[in-house]
Symmetry: C2
Subunit: 192 residues, 2 copies
């Protein structure tokens, strides 16, 4: 397993986004993007549509105090070397990463680690379904973008960010609904 | 997502097994069962056979000190509400739990939570491949036991532990090799 140094100089986006102020977008009505995805997955689970779960944030535990149960007193966040979500839908393996971007013109690829690209390449090679869900907060829009597209852009494009016009052209807009908040499996169905 | 109370009165097996003394068995030559599974998965990954990863242990973070990077100063282990491992093999979704038991006559089902049973039922319903890898440390043996078998036993058997003779009859012995330590995908191949 790939281990990152425990510099303690970073915390993963998913954890970082919570304590900080969240600019409520019309698209998610105050719900964080992560919460919206989790709510959608919960809906899929309860309706027996799919089993898709969020991988817990990996944490490097340095010290545990066993004097009162098991209290962790020293630990660091680690970077996810894979993606945040995976699961099973219609027998198929499904794997995706959800990312928010405030950038009004493009989606910066430094949001994605080389390990995540490598992981998604492997998933595709083994016949899995892989994609990104990208929230463009400035537009209040969420897009499904295939991992193939992102990987290809990552390796071959000269620029280090995907222009929003390209996301609009090559991705699929997912309009928010009450339940599930983002029905991304509708796009998976379309592409299967 | 199912949340457990942060009683702090437990720590998951995977974490617990590390600080404590581990009785080295001939089968794994001093390597913990978890490490042996991880090594096998690493082998599958490097040889481009499958992408199977361990879900990080979920940790409930109570307090983070941001004065020197992001140091977690107060947190608790949570119980995994799913299984420890999942991934993709030949396009199929694969999901399993690895458990060690020192019991010389049977495998106690209290090793498995109701949430894990429910999760595995759902995985099977959606066409995934689901199973248990059970290390019987007293015998120095590792068995592949289908989730179907365990779920059926869990719901219908009167006793609360699976006799070892039944595991031997209904499971598949996985002999240790150098690389991968436990070639459990050979059993998956046989059953596919």
């Amino acid at each position: 397993m790939i281990k990152y140094p425990n510099g303690g100089s970073f915390s993963p986006t998913s954890k970082k986004s919570k304590p900080h102020k969240h600019i409520a977008s019309a698209a998610n009505r105050g719900m964080s993007f992560e919460d919206a995805i989790n709510q959608s997955n919960e809906f899929y689970l309860e309706r027996d549509i799919a089993v898709i779960t969020k991988r817990p944030t990996p944490i490097n535990v340095v010290k545990v105090d066993y004097s009162h149960g098991a209290k962790i007193t020293h630990a660091y966040f680690e970077k996810q070397s894979t993606t945040d979500y995976n699961g099973v839908y219609k027998g198929r393996y499904l794997d995706f990463e959800a990312k928010s971007s405030k950038n009004p013109t493009s989606f910066p690829l430094n949001n994605i680690t080389p390990h995540q690209i490598k992981h998604l390449e492997r998933v595709l090679k083994h016949g899995g379904i892989a994609f990104f869900l990208i929230e463009l907060t400035s537009l209040h829009e969420v897009y499904y973008l295939s991992a193939e597209y992102v990987i290809n852009f990552y390796h071959h494009a000269k620029r280090k960010s995907i222009p929003i016009k390209d996301i609009k052209k090559s991705g699929y807009l997912i309009k928010p609904t009450l339940l599930p908040r983002y029905h991304y499996l509708a796009v998976v169905d379309k592409l299967l």
